[in-house]
Subunit: 433 residues, 2 copies
């Protein structure tokens, strides 16, 4: 079963907003065994939306739209849907009551623009939006367009789900309403439910994409037709993804992966596509050990990664972001002489930072970073992209110098430093298992 996503909003097409919704929705659809065929971003423009709907329905059974459901003039999605599905707006008393409840402590919001939110397309099924005023609309069957015919009830229906574009409203709408509806009403009706979509990802670090491809070439060439391999390099990590769209069994996939693993063992960080902080967090939790960070160039990003998952307080104690050198001395206890003699971006400083925060916060592990994130501040000896990282552990402290390249941007350099800092500790804990 195929789906498409249409994201609606001028803000996407002038680059004011990054579309984070589609990737999240894609994951939910894949989990339900539904292939996402295409994502299309269109303007808040009647003709453009109508055209995109026609094209999407020509290829897919399910179309999901986000955006354009607000109460202000620039939001036209609801009106265009009425035109597309040949229906008109009517008042929905349940939506009205819900909105009154939602804003009971903010009477100024219960104004005449908000009142337009309880007008809904007559032929649509309305699903509740627990956290917002824009109702979620489901249209079935009555689709317009040359390549579409109104079909009888049952297995050949087509469905449109219109959701708000605000990410947290969309996520709740998808999780609580749209996906259950799809599983029950849409997939339930089909005689032939397609098989499971399986994606399995290996995470590797420290090998070039082409070198990896040559190393596993024989294995890759012997893969059955039903499986597809993809290489996804990012921030120094390669994600190697083996996919099957409903044709191979879980066991067949596992067998292929078992054959692959010995070929890539030296570079393997994880056998699932998980954030690095989750992998490290799980390692630390299993060992009942703790961690702290002392950061200069990463500026709190390593801290933020380490406490990103719920339950992080079991292993993450805290961090000192020592951006200014006085903080490195006074809070972390880096020696004045060390900073004078070697500078802030040096092996000596970063070792003292790591050991300093490990002692200060009384943890098992500590990571410290100091580098030149740029775009200014580079010198011939220490060009932009130079980053020292130290790991203080119960077995002693190690440090390494990285060169993340003058061509990269500030954000990219700090991201690479966070990745390297986490990966090296993950690898060292892996070998201790």
């Amino acid at each position: 079963m195929r789906a498409e996503i249409i994201t609606i909003g001028d803000e996407l097409l002038i680059g004011q907003v990054v579309d984070t919704n589609s990737a999240w929705m894609a994951q939910r659809l894949n989990e339900a065994g539904i292939e996402l065929y295409q994502i299309t971003s269109v303007h808040d423009d009647r003709e453009h939306i109508l055209k995109a709907l026609d094209e999407a329905f020509s290829r897919a059974d399910i179309v999901l739209t986000t955006g354009g459901l607000g109460p202000t003039k620039d939001d036209i999605t609801k009106h265009v849907m009425c035109e597309y599905f040949g229906t008109t707006l009517v008042e929905d008393s349940r939506v009205r009551e819900h909105i009154h409840e939602l804003y009971k402590e903010r009477p100024d919001v219960l104004n005449r623009l908000t009142a337009t939110q309880w007008l809904v397309p007559e032929s649509a099924t309305i699903l509740p939006n627990r956290v917002g005023s824009a109702p979620i609309m489901v249209f079935e069957n009555e689709v317009r367009g040359e390549r579409l015919e109104v079909r009888g009830e049952g297995q050949n229906s087509k469905f449109l789900f219109a959701m708000p574009g605000v990410p947290y409203e969309m996520k709740i709408a998808m999780t609580e309403q749209v996906m259950p509806y799809i599983r029950l009403k849409v997939k339930g009706e089909r005689l032939e439910v397609s098989g499971e979509i399986i994606h399995r990802t290996m995470m590797l670090y420290g090998i070039a994409e082409s070198t990896l491809a040559i190393r596993i070439e024989e294995w890759e060439n012997a893969l059955p037709q039903s499986m597809h391999l993809a290489y996804l390099p990012k921030d120094g990590i390669i994600r190697l993804r083996l996919s099957s769209y409903g044709e191979a069994s879980n066991e067949e996939i596992e067998q292929q992966l078992a054959n692959l693993k010995p070929l890539i063992a030296d570079y393997l960080i994880a056998t699932e596509d998980l954030p690095l902080e989750t992998i490290l967090g799980n390692q630390l939790k299993a060992r009942h050990q703790t961690i702290a960070t002392a950061e200069s160039c990463t500026g709190g990003r390593l801290a933020a990664a380490l406490n990103a998952q719920s339950g992080a307080s079991a292993y993450y104690m805290g961090s000192v972001v020592a951006y200014d050198n006085t903080i490195k001395e006074q809070v972390l206890g880096v020696k004045h002489d060390t900073l004078e003699k070697y500078g802030a971006v040096s092996e000596q400083t970063v070792r003292e930072m790591a050991e300093g925060v490990r002692a200060l916060m009384n943890t098992d592990y500590a990571i410290a970073t100091s580098g030149i994130a740029g775009p200014t501040g580079g010198t011939p000896d220490k060009p932009v992209g130079t980053v020292w990282i130290a790991w203080a552990t119960p077995d002693g402290t190690t440090a390494e110098c990285y060169q993340f390249g003058v061509a990269r941007e500030r954000e990219q350099i700090t991201q690479r430093a966070v990745t390297a800092a986490l990966v090296e500790l993950i690898k060292s804990l892996n070998t201790k298992q």
Copy 2:
């Protein structure tokens, strides 16, 4: 002049990767006065790419693609382009030399897969990729498809630019090669260059979207046809954007904004669409003042925001992420009694955290956060989403309790806390000007 973007890659459609490229590219196109009409994400699939190219060229003069240019089997973009434009691959000696230079210190990468990267489509113009092995390809005129004809040189040419999908490679390719090419060769050829696309954004905080719309309704209704207003709510901020696609002058837009400002003055944070950290950073730099943070629930995100821009060391000194209560006591000097009596998420604790870090780092301002980011850890008194924020300033300390809602996710709650923490300080510094 219209452009479209086609992003190519299965990873986008299974939700493994968020497409951040398109928004960034959209901004660059808009700056050059080129309207981005549609963004389409398609699979690494021959038929799908060919169809998307046909459709995009039926609507636009310029098509930009990203992705699928790597050396591994799953990357097919270059071959599909050859088919679409009716050309074949030939060796390019300049690309070969560049790749040898690029990998001169990594001979293992100069393998036979990498060698396929210097095979390029014969009819394409090759632009250099300074930081990667995939050449940037430009195709002009010779386009396939029913609705497209091969046209003579000059003002009616159509152009395709194929770029790598790795964001930092794409950004360098766009900045250094593609945009200059478009400005010179594409726009330069046209007899009629369309007018400037102007977007002006006001940032507001503390007002509901519908309330704002009613407040400025009279002004909005009187806007000329050539201008378009959009409301973009996110993380508690509303961005109010006035756009003109080449029809209104800068002066006309400025006049409209001058009329708007008195209506929204109470809620206005900034008259440009800038990250909050940039607004605050500029305020602090202008005053030669400094800031530090003490963070519990925001876990380093406030620190990361404050040092995100280059030159942050002029005003940002450092932070303590005091995730564990012992760190709040031992590093920040929060009294044991305070934590015992009021708990970590309380006005008393957050005030002591702010004052503690301000003294420790000897800064003018300090912000502290403590809250329950969830999904676990909530109590009936302090449900998930409760966040206390304190601002220690030369004029004393203030604190406020926020409720960012049980419905929201951990990431959303911490993001709202960062926003509130920055906005309140920005507003207070605005009034002191």
